[in-house]
C-alpha cells in the first residue's frame, strides 16, 4: 500500500536570539492508509512541531513532505488551506469546538468551509455524529457535553471533509481514562474500517496499546520506530 504521508529529512529550526534551536532534526517517516501511528516523547522533543508540519500548518526549514504523493512542502502559502481542508482532519487536545455553535453546527462548519450546501452539510453532520455515538447531541452546545463527548464531536468534525489523514494532538489528555479509551476506540475504528492514516501525539503510556506503530522522538530526532501489539479488546 502506498504511503499517504511521506516525510523526508524534515528539519525545523527556530531562531533563539543569535543561536538557532533545532526543533526537528532530519525526521524521515511515512504513514500508510489504515495506520494508527503514535508519536511519543518527552516535552520539547518535537512532537507538536512534527504534527504541525504534517498538518501543513508549519513549514519545514528543510526536507520534503508529500501527502498523497504531492509535495506540499514546496507549495505556495495560499494553496495550503486547500490541502488542510481537503486532506487533513485535526483533533485537538482542548477540543477547540466553537462554543456558540451546537454540536451539529460545529461539524457542519467544516463542510461550510468546503462549500458544501447547507442541506447536505446538515445531513452529513447528523450522520457523522451518529457514527461517533452522539446522534442525540446534534443540537447540544459544547458547554452541555462531557469532555469525552466534546472530543467525539471534534472527531466527527475532523471527519466531515472526508480527509485521508487525521492528526490528533493528545486527544485524550483532557479526558478521564474511560472517555480516553472511548475516543481511542473511535480513532482506531476509523483507521481500520475507513482506511484513514491517523497520527496521534500522546504524552503518556496509557494509550500505547491503541497504535499500530509507535514513533519516539527525542530532541527532534526519531530514536525509535516500532510496530506495537494492538489491544484487540479495545478495538471491538
Amino acid at each position: 500500500m502506498n504511503p499517504i504521508i511521506e516525510a523526508h529529512e524534515l528539519t525545523k529550526t527556530y531562531a533563539q536570539g543569535e543561536a538557532a534551536m533545532r526543533a526537528l532534526d532530519e525526521v524521515t517517516l511515512d504513514v500508510r492508509q489504515g495506520d494508527v501511528m503514535l508519536l511519543v516523547g518527552p516535552s520539547g522533543s518535537g512532537k507538536t512541531t512534527l504534527l504541525s508540519i504534517l498538518g501543513c500548518i508549519l513549514r519545514p526549514t528543510s526536507g520534503t513532505l508529500r501527502i498523497m504523493g504531492e509535495d506540499v512542502s514546496r507549495m505556495n502559502e495560499r494553496d495550503l488551506p486547500a490541502v488542510r481542508r481537503e486532506r487533513i482532519g485535526f483533533v485537538f487536545q482542548a477540543f477547540n469546538l466553537f462554543p456558540t455553535l451546537t454540536a451539529g453546527q460545529n461539524v457542519a462548519l467544516a463542510l461550510d468551509l468546503k462549500g458544501v450546501s447547507a442541506r447536505l452539510a446538515r445531513e452529513r453532520a447528523a450522520s457523522l455524529l451518529e457514527q461517533v455515538g452522539l446522534r442525540d447531541k446534534l443540537d447540544a452546545y459544547p458547554a452541555d457535553l462531557s469532555g469525552g463527548q466534546k472530543q467525539r464531536v471534534a472527531i466527527a468534525r475532523a471527519l466531515a471533509g472526508d480527509p485521508p489523514v487525521i492528526l490528533a494532538d493528545e486527544p485524550t489528555a483532557a479526558l478521564d481514562s474511560q472517555s480516553g479509551r472511548a475516543v481511542m476506540q473511535v480513532l482506531k475504528k476509523l483507521a481500520r474500517e475507513r482506511g484513514r492514516a491517523i497520527v496521534i501525539v500522546t504524552h503518556g503510556n496509557r494509550m500505547l496499546g491503541y497504535g499500530d506503530r509507535t514513533v519516539r522522538l527525542e530532541d527532534g530526532r526519531i530514536v525509535a520506530d516500532e510496530r506495537t501489539a494492538v489491544l484487540e479488546g479495545a478495538i471491538a
Binding site: 507538536t48 504534527l51 504541525s52 498538518g55 500548518i57 508549519l58 488551506p81 486547500a82 490541502v83 488542510r84 481542508r85 481537503e86 487533513i88 485535526f90 485537538f92 487536545q93 482542548a94 477547540n96 466553537f98 462554543p99 456558540t100 455553535l101 451546537t102 451539529g104 453546527q105 457542519a108 462548519l109 467544516a110 463542510l111 461550510d112 468551509l113 468546503k114 447547507a118 442541506r119 452539510a121 446538515r122 453532520a125 447528523a126 446534534l138 443540537d139 468534525r157 471533509g161 494532538d169 493528545e170 489528555a173 483532557a174
Partner: protein
Amino acid sequence: MMTPRISELAWRNLVHDKVRLLVTVTGVVFAVVLIVVQLGLFLGFTTTTSGLIDHSRADLWMTSARVPYIEMGVPFSERKLSTVLATPGVAHATKYIVRFSQWQRRDGRQESVQVVGFDPDQPLGAPWNVVEGHVTDVKLADNVFVDELYKDKLGVSKVGDVFEIRGRRARVAGFTRGIRSFTTSPYVFTSFKNAQDYATIAEDQTIFILIEMDRSARLDTVRHALLANVRDVDVITTAEFSRMTRVYWMFTTGAGVAVLLAAVLGLVVGVVVVAQTIYATTMDHLREYGTLKAMGATNGYLYRVIIQQAVISALVGYGLAMIVSWFVVRGSLKGGAAILLPLPMAIGMLGLTIVMCTGAALVSINKVTRLDPAMVFKA
C-alpha cells in the same frame, strides 16, 4: 439544526457576549447620533443662512457693488428700479430691504431683529409659511409679521400686540412658522415703506432689487443688459447669492467648520469605540479563528466573518441611532436651531456607518491575518 453559514457564525460570535455587543452598539449609536446632529445642524444652519434668498422667488438680485452676503447689503438709489423694469426680459422687479434694527419689548428689553421689507403687491420676497394673518395685512402702517419660534424672545403672545422698532410703533399682524434666522436676530417682515422707517433707510433708497425674468428670457442676456444699464451695482443670480451667503456664514466665520469638526469627531469616536469592541471580540475568539485556519479556512473566509460582525453592529447601531435621531430632529424643530435629516442624508449615514464599522474591523483583520494556526496545538 441550522448550518452555520458565515453570517450566522458572525452573529453568534457577536451575541455570545451580550455586554460587549451592547457596548459596540452603544458606541455606534453614540457616533451616528453625534454625526447626524452635527451634520443636521450644519445643514440646518446652511439652509437658514440663505432662507430669505432661497424663498425669494427672484431669478436675480441687484445689490450695491461687492456685497458679500445678504446681511451686508448697502443702500442705493431706488430710482434704479425704473431702469431695471425697462430692461428687456424683466417681468417683475421690486425693492427689498434686509437690515438689522432694534425691537423693544413691552418690558423695555431691547432685542436685535432683522427688518425685512418687501412689496406686498408683488410675489417676490414675501414671507412664506404664514400661519396666522395675511401677507397683505402689512400694507397697513406699522403692521409686521414675526415667526412663532421667536414669540418668547420678542415678548409676543398674539396678533394685535404692539411694540416699538427703533422708537416706531409696530403691531403684530400675523405669524409665520419655521422661518429661522442664522443670527440671533429674528426676521420681522413688513412692507417696504415700513421697513425704510424701522431700518432708518432714506426714503429714496433700497438695499436690494429682486428681479423675476420673463420665462422666455435668457439669464445671461438679462444680466448683461442690467449691468450695462445700471451703474455701481452687482447683478447676482439667486443661486450665486445663496451660495455666497452660505459660504460666508459657514466657512468665513468658522461656524460651519466648527460644526463639521464636531461631526468628524463623532466619526472618530465611533471608529475608535467600534474598533476597540470588535478587536476585543476578535481576541476572545482568536483560538476559534486559529482553529478555522487550521481546518483550512482561507483568510478571506475569516475576513468575511469579522466584516459581517462589523456590518451587523453597524446595522443594529444605525437602526437605533435613527430612532434616537428622529426624536432629536423632532425636538429641534421647536427650537431656534433646526437639525435637518433629509432622506438622502439618512441613506448616506447608513453607508457611512457601515464604512465606519468595517474600517474599525481592519485592526482585527490585521490581527487574524498574522495569526499562527499552530496556536491550536497549545492546550
